[in-house]
């Protein structure tokens, strides 16, 4: 297993190099002069040519491309992710401040989607064909069609404005994260629920399950010790992918609920062509993604003794 981890880390390095290079190239190719963005505050102020030139020098935009990338890479290897073009702040410090916030949001969303989806999916499978099952089936259809930002605003209207149970925005204790995590989770909750239901029904039809039933094992144990462990493995892979995507893509939740996480940082960086921030973001996202994937692989290998590390059932 140690060798597996080492192998994964080694293969991660060229991947991270590749995506950071890609981000760099995309940044360079896209229209927009960062010097202008730094100086002109959305069109309020028109900088002169000399001011622009001076800013370009300061930001190092006039250096040849390979040199810019090379310098950045060397900085990264020493732990320095550079400074933002727009604010001048140290990027590593900014990410260290923002990442835990996004992480908290993502973990909560994962719990909601995972626990909620698995729980309701199980109930639907066990009581297949019942009113509850049909109701949930229709409900998940609706849930998958609702756009996230609309849901966010409606929830704020109901729970913050009218009922005053939860705050509208910002960060703080757990209750600040409830609505945004729910907005992030609800579509995946629906997917996990249906997936779980299908996977469980498949297990119910398997030979070992029928044999176990005929042994007289009680229904609860049949569900939790026999069907569920077998059905849950693909769901875990699904949730792993989901968690990784939330870590990088919780933009809507973060911007509406005023949560300063790394996704909103990335959005601003894109808008203002803040290349160092973008490259750092791509790198950090890539790392977290790989970490999550390794964790999921280990988890699946632990749960399913038949699978060797590196394969997913």
């Amino acid at each position: 297993m140690i060798s597996y981890c080492c192998k994964r880390i080694l293969t991660a390095v060229p991947v991270l190099l590749g995506i950071s290079l890609l981000a760099f190239i995309l940044g360079v190719l896209s229209p927009g002069d960062p010097a202008e963005f730094v100086l002109n505050q959305d069109g309020l102020y028109a900088p002169s040519e000399e001011q622009l030139e001076a800013m370009r020098e300061e930001l190092g935009l006039n250096k040849p491309l390979w040199l810019r990338y090379g310098l950045w890479l060397m900085g990264v290897l020493q732990g320095d992710l550079g400074s933002s073009y727009i604010t001048g702040r140290d990027i590593a410090a900014e990410i260290a401040q923002r990442l835990p916030v996004t992480l908290e949001l993502a973990v909560l969303a994962l719990l909601m989607a995972g626990v909620g989806g698995i729980f309701f999916g199980s109930i639907c499978a066990v009581y297949r064909g019942s009113f509850f099952d049909n109701f949930v089936k229709n409900l998940t259809n609706i849930m998958l069609s609702i756009p996230g930002f609309w849901l966010a605003l409606i929830l704020i209207l109901i729970f913050s404005e009218q009922l005053r149970w939860l705050p509208t925005s910002g960060t703080g204790s757990l209750k600040y994260f409830l609505l945004p995590a729910f907005v992030l989770a609800f579509a995946t909750m629906a997917t996990v629920c249906r997936f779980m239901r299908g996977a469980l029904l498949t297990e119910f039809g398997r030979q070992y399950f029928l044999v176990a039933k005929v042994r007289g094992i009680n229904k609860f144990n049949l569900l939790t010790r026999y069907a569920l462990p077998n059905a849950i493995i693909p769901v875990i892979a699904l949730l792993g992918n989901y968690f990784a995507s939330v870590l990088g893509g919780s933009v809507i939740a973060e911007s509406i609920f005023a949560i300063p996480g790394i996704s909103s940082m990335a959005l601003e960086a894109i808008r203002y062509r803040d290349y160092p921030v973008l490259q750092a973001y791509v790198l950090v996202s890539g790392c977290t993604l790989i970490l999550v994937m390794v964790t999921v692989d280990l988890l699946i290998a632990y749960l399913n003794p038949k699978v060797k590390l590196g394969e997913r059932s």
């Binding site: 927009g32 069109g43 102020y45 040519e49």
Partner: protein, 519 residues
Amino acid sequence: MKHFYKPLLLLLTTAVLLLGGCGVQQTASEQEKNITAENNAVVLAAGRNLAPGEKDGYYCSKILGVWEPLITKDENGLPKPCLATGWEMKDGGKEWIFHLRQGVQFHNGSPFNADAVIKNFERMKLGVKRSSFYGLDIKTFYPSLIRYEKIDDYTLKFLFAEPNVNQLYKMIDFGSPVYAPECFAPDGNFQGFAIGTGPYKITENVLNKYVRLTRSDTYYGTKAKVPEIVVRNIPNPDVRYAALKAGEILGVLDINAIPPFLAEEIKQDDRFAISTNKSTMIRFLALNGSRFPFNDVRMRQAVSLAIDRKDLVQALYLNYAEPTANLLNYTSPYYKDYPVEYDPEKARKLAREVLGGQRCEVVYCINGGEPLQKGEAELISYWLQIIGLDVTIQSLEYATMARQMRRGDYDIARVQQGLPNGDPYSIFYTFMMPDGSRNKISCLAYQNHEVAALLQEAKHCTDENKRRAIYDRLQLISIEDQPVVPLFNDRSIVAYSKRLKNYDALVYGVNLAEIELID
């Protein structure tokens, strides 16, 4: 072999949860602080981060009342003393003497005097400081400055190579900020909070979340009424609105604090009120003067006459804006209120002269990020189609639009301009002189010898009446020639809970020192 997994897995998941949990820990204690302070602190919200912090040239916006400039402006936009109580202009504007206010202390107790101001200038000389408010560039605010010298503890002299008759205007607000020299780091950025002379001081700044202001009891003027103010950062306007209605905040402020539609709605709720004032923002259509059809002044005039600005402002902005065809914003003391013409017949006639009875296809670029612009573009296209222009609307990202404009790869573009200082010289220069920045980056290709001559005269003119006449003439030329087609002057709107008193909109922000809590 299996036994390795459990502990490693536990370790990994604990690591992930801990990292997230750390977030909970630190934010939980902040939350507690919020709760205890909330009871006697006034909480407001803004869409921008009003205290970007140490790497920002100004640390925070002037709105927060933390730092003060040497010269500020009054309700009419005229220069008013702040930390400088008086001034003299000599040598046709090449020499300026400023008298500083006495008996003023910075928040940390150190004295405000000529030495402190000089250290601020030395800091500015280190280089351009970027900021989300205005670029802090000594060359913009003090062009051709040779040197500055201390005459005595409360008098400073500035010497310029060229006459700077309107120097006062350049120094208004963001042009002459004064901070305690101790709060600067050697590289000119801040180390720690900004320390100024204003009615409020910063006691806590959590970046991108909120900034806490506490009343300064050593303020030389009228002390602030509210002892503690917290300004939160909520980027989404609908969420700000919800927070206001839910009672989480007592008011919203800064640019685009509340859009017109929501302002109308909140007026209907008895618990809330709104306040408006003029804004320095002017919204206009840039026309590509380097190619047909807008290289012909008649076509530009036709566009201006064809647009019913009153209708536009009423339909899309609910009259929270002032129609204008004047390049100069109405907050400038030199602003003259010229009538706005709407004459579709005349427009059609002029257009026919230029187009020769044919129709012409034009490209109209808008910023895709602003929701109302699409509707506005469609309305304007309707009017333009009447005079023979077939409009294709292109919704672009801001950077792409800027690039296309620079290349002259457009016909019409919807943009905006703020007023950096009350003196119209810079505005007219940037739009109407061939080497003016705005003129170049929008390919306006506007040239006018009379304008050049007038601006040259204004540069040296010390007679106030004559200056006014020059600027009147320049405004008229801008209306006649329409190098760009101004649409309307913006209005600043703020909204607040009636638990607050004196929450009045200024041209820029709200006077935080004036607001009171009624309880």
